[in-house]
């Protein structure tokens, strides 16, 4: 096949997406047409994008220049293995969310469906261009378009004040990040004035300037990825957005930040210092722990998932940090292993988190509730959603044989393979980090049992839940597509690693493909069989066989008699739904154990209250430690600046005059 064709096909997809958006805008009133025709077409396009991207992973880099934008500043686009991998993630995930949207979009939820469709497709197109961009200029344009379109999507339901607030917060942090990224590119071009990535690659920066660029990149991309302490927008914006948008933001947009961090630190910069890795590792670890502890105590299902995204991005940063650390010491094989874990987790998280967010969307439409305290028992009324969500929840808990476990396994293997780092301090640190990662993984299981159990199991906590309707067919297809992704990625990690190793070859000059191939497609073994191996297929087969065998054997040897009766519950009569654990109750032990993490306010009723009220408000320390002081500072500075604003034209003219005089004095010297 012609080498150029992949990039051309990808560009065609982008253009058709924009065209679909334009058609939707023209047909704003015809909700049915927008939902049932345009979104399925868009979903097919996503599939095409994924296919071309998967092909491009194995091809040589392809580049093109588009005569867009300002004169003399055309868009440079390029697809290499790294960008192709992320394009594939975008394609596969958006294929699921688009087909889901076909059943989800309806009138009367804020912005008109036609306009939402336009914003949605511009959002998709801008994410694709971010990954394709080959110069800082095109990158920044796409990055800002991505932020703006997603901002408008977040505030789709703009009549609610809380949603407007969430959108504003998101826009604010997106811009703080963008400033840092802009400055980072400024440092990287080293006064050459040429912002193409090809030129940035050539610049040999001094360690000092390289470090500045690195810190700026971590701040800029960390703000988008939701790294502590820049995470505060995430739990506000994700619940506010419509569910397919939350799914895309969490599943894909956060990953563009990971992509950009990999691009800048591994591809554009060449002088890796060891502390860079340590910084990313430390930030990631703090984020993961912080995210998972907050996940377990949430009572709003979408907020819960948002915190879980923070946790997962933290884990991704942990493995990225490890890779940076290894690269700085020239241990390329280990760096490749860590990067493989990173990329697999990127793919896995894109699948399961989109799946879970979409599932919350169907629950929201079926019941009108987001509060976990008012849900329950839905597995009996919406079985499709429930069972598909179970796949997502198990993947999110990092359980074998699903996708989440593979990346966790590789990450833990990386820790075990680590030996003889030159600094003994780092050597001691590695087991501690491994322990923390294991703790995070176990806690995420706790959170997911809570998420799934409280929503779908037990008795319905409200009467209206008994009339909940299952997802429509389009929604089921979308959910099933992503669930299949979770399973496939979990069962065939070897095949994915063969593709991923092209990326790691590009970034750290080492790939795992040969070792993985040598050990056969059935067994996943990063180095040798004696060292470590894992085979999800055999794992699944043995468990499934023993289940089937047991079920048949019990029936043959004994019997299959079964009778339905009221629940036993130790003989207590009159069970009702209020006696089950609430979401608060399920999170209570974690709240007690990790108390210093939270800023908690509790209103406890006294025994004599006629109408007892129990309330816990859990807040983030960072609001009070970081954001409030900054707010006060900005306020003071603004007041100072306000003094020179008198509102009288003569005074402003005087300012201009004085400025001119000062300038003349400076120039005249």
């Amino acid at each position: 096949m012609d080498g150029m064709a992949d990039l051309d096909r990808i560009l065609t997809v982008i253009m058709v997406w924009v065209a679909i958006g334009a058609v939707a805008l023209a047909a704003q009133r015809r909700t049915r047409f927008v939902a049932r025709t345009l979104f399925p077409i868009s979903s097919l396009l996503s599939l095409g994008l994924a296919a071309s991207a998967l092909h491009a992973v194995f091809m040589q880099p392809q580049a093109t220049v588009l005569p867009l934008g300002l004169p003399g500043l055309p868009f440079h686009l390029r697809v290499d293995s790294l960008s192709a991998f992320f394009l594939a993630v975008i394609g596969v995930t958006s294929c699921g969310t688009s087909i889901f949207s076909a059943g989800y979009v309806r009138k009367g939820e804020g912005t008109a469906p036609g306009l939402q469709c336009l914003q949605y497709h511009l959002f998709l197109a801008s994410m694709t261009v971010v990954v394709l961009a080959d110069d800082a200029y095109a990158f920044m344009v796409a990055w800002e378009t991505m932020a703006l379109t997603s901002f408008f999507l977040v505030i789709a339901n703009h009549r609610v004040a809380a949603i407007r607030r969430a959108g504003y917060l998101y826009l604010l942090l997106a811009h703080i990040g963008a400033i840092a990224i802009l400055l980072c590119f400024g440092v990287l071009q080293a006064n050459t004035g040429d912002f193409t990535f090809a030129n940035l690659r050539l610049q040999a920066l001094s360690p000092f300037w390289a470090s500045i660029a690195f810190v700026l990149a971590v701040v800029g991309f960390g703000a988008k990825a939701g790294i502590v302490p820049l995470h505060v927008w995430l739990p506000e914006a994700h619940p506010a957005a419509p569910s397919p948008v939350s799914a895309l933001m969490s599943g894909v947009m956060l990953k563009t930040a990971v992509y950009a961090l990999l691009r800048v630190t591994f591809d554009l910069m060449h002088v890796p210092l060891w502390w860079w890795g340590a910084v990313v590792l430390g930030l990631g670890l703090a984020t993961a722990l912080y995210g998972v502890v907050f996940t377990t105590v949430q009572t709003d299902m979408k907020r819960l998932l948002a915190f879980s995204s923070i946790e997962n991005l933290g884990l991704i940063f942990v493995s990225t940090g490890l890779a940076l650390l290894f690269r700085s010491y020239g241990m390329n094989a280990l760096a490749a292993l860590a990067l493989t874990a990173t990329l697999l987790h990127v793919a896995a998280h894109a699948m399961f988190k989109s799946l879970l967010f979409l599932a919350t969307g169907t629950v929201l439409h079926a019941t009108g509730e987001r509060n976990l305290g008012k849900l329950g028992g839905l597995i009996r009324y919406t079985p499709w959603v429930a069972w598909l969500t179970l796949v997502g929840a198990l993947t999110a808990s990092g359980l074998p044989p699903l996708a989440g476990f593979v990346s966790e396994w590789l990450l833990l293997q990386t820790f075990l393979f680590t030996t003889n780092l030159p600094t003994s301090f780092l050597n001691m640190l590695v087991p501690l980090v491994a322990a923390a990662v294991a703790l995070v993984a176990a806690l995420s299981g706790y959170a997911m049992v809570k998420f799934f159990g409280v929503i779908f199991l037990g008795q319905p906590r409200e009467e209206k839940l008994r009339h909940a309707r299952d997802a429509s067919w389009f929604e089921r297809i979308g959910l099933a597509w992503l669930a299949t992704g979770c399973v496939a990625l979990g069962l065939f990690p070897g095949q994915v690693i063969v593709g991923v190793s092209r990326v790691t070859k590009l970034l750290v000059d080492f790939g795992l493909a040969e070792t993985v191939r040598a050990n056969g497609w059935l067994l996943l073994a990063p180095t040798s069989l004696q060292r470590a191996s894992y085979s999800p297929i055999i794992f699944l087969l043995v468990v499934a066989t023993s289940i089937a065998f047991t079920a048949v054997a019990v029936r043959i040897v004994y019997h299959g008699r079964q009778r339905r009766a009221p629940p036993w519950d130790c003989g207590f009569p009159d069970q009702n739904a209020r006696m089950q654990d609430t979401a608060e109750g399920f999170g209570q032990p974690i709240r007690q154990i990790f108390e210093p993490f939270f800023r908690m306010r509790r209103d406890l009723p006294s025994p004599f209250d006629a109408r007892p009220l129990y309330r816990v408000v859990i807040e983030d320390h960072f609001w009070y430690w970081l954001y409030r002081p900054v707010e006060v500072l900005v306020d003071r500075v603004a007041r100072l600046a306000g003094r020179i604003q008198q509102g009288r034209i003569s005074i402003y003219l005087l300012y201009s005059f004085l400025t001119l005089v000062v300038m003349l004095l400076l120039v005249g010297r």
Binding site: L399, A442, G458, A532, F539, V542, V543, V557, Y558, Q562
Partner: protein, 315 residues
């Protein structure tokens, strides 16, 4: 797959499935002796299983398919766990399918399913049990992982067969890191198998039970499967402990004769292990549920200290 490998794998499955209730019976018997009670027969667990299998299963009206499927899934997980832990031989064809990390994942999978099933009917005790089980699990899981890591770092492998092989063949050295790991492992296995300082398998006292609260709604064959799975779990944990800390007497590759000897050796080691478990259970009192996380955190910290000691001393 070699014929001898296939043989040892099948033998291991057969021994685990048939002997696991025996181990439970032995522990109960020892406990009764130590506590001056009349001991039940060694075969009592088999009688209980037989009785339960014969009974009709009574299922709550609103139970979903998840509730009905969970006992089979838990049983399947525990069966696989018993199949990959090298108890009789290190020549297990299934061993490469799941290493130490996957083994921990396997236990986690079973735990998540049984907790979800307990929440399914929506009774007060079920959800309480699910919450407590996950609470115990979230600290036990990393602690177990760290324990296994201590052994992996010494033997440079996470494959259970390689770990046992290397441990059994190394010169007799006392590894300080393994000492820490051993204490941590003991605590974890007490908690994971619902044993006395953490949970009491012999009680239905509402305020304290964990494991019994989880399976409260089950009856008939489902209950039998869960009880059997609990025995399998105890068996698997005992075998992991024996394999890590007392790896002698396990048969090797290309040595089918050794299988004949490894069986009595295993029986002897399990008998001693069961007696120790009964001793621990007799000499300790049940803890308040909120002391359990502290107890478990101790295990986690000890395991991490074990890893650090390995880093410091290189042993």
């Amino acid at each position: 797959m070699t014929p001898s490998g296939f043989l040892s794998q099948m033998l291991q499955f057969a021994v685990a499935l048939s002997a696991a209730p025996l181990l439970t019976g032995w522990v109960n018997q020892c406990r009764a002796w130590l506590q001056n009670r009349t001991a039940p027969s060694l075969l009592q667990p088999y009688r209980v299983l037989h009785k339960l299998f014969n009974k009709e299963s009574v299922v709550a009206e609103n139970a979903s398919a998840l509730f009905l499927g969970a006992p089979y899934i838990v049983f399947g997980c525990m069966a696989l766990a018993c199949g990959i832990v090298p108890a009789l031989s290190t020549d297990l064809p299934l061993a490469p399918a799941a290493d130490a990390i996957a083994l921990v994942g396997l236990f986690a999978l079973a735990r998540v399913f049984i907790s979800l099933a307990a929440m399914d009917v929506g009774t007060a005790f079920g959800t309480l049990g699910a919450r407590r089980e996950m609470l115990i699990g979230f600290l036990a899981e990393p602690a177990l992982l760290m324990t296994l890591f201590s052994a992996s770092l010494i033997t440079h492998s996470t494959s259970l067969a390689s770990i046992v092989h290397n441990m059994a063949h190394s010169h007799f050295v006392i590894y300080p890191s393994l000492a820490f790991a051993g204490i941590a492992f003991t605590i974890v296995s007490l908690a994971e198998n619902a044993r006395v300082p953490v949970d009491n398998p012999a009680t239905h006292l509402e305020l304290t039970m964990v494991h019994e609260a989880l399976i409260l709604e089950y009856s008939g064959r489902y209950l039998a499967l869960l009880e059997w799975a609990a025995s399998l779990k105890l068996f698997a944990y005992s075998c992991i402990g024996l394999a890590l800390f007392f790896p002698w007497g396990v048969a090797e590759v290309n040595d089918p004769l050794a299988l004949v000897f490894s069986l009595p050796v295993l029986a002897l080691k399990l008998a001693i292990g069961g007696l120790c478990l009964a001793l621990i259970e007799t000499f300790s009192a049940k803890m308040r549920i909120f002391r359990v996380p502290e107890f478990q955190a101790t295990a986690f910290l000890l395991a991490v200290i074990g890893l650090l000691v390995h880093g410091l001393l290189g042993a």
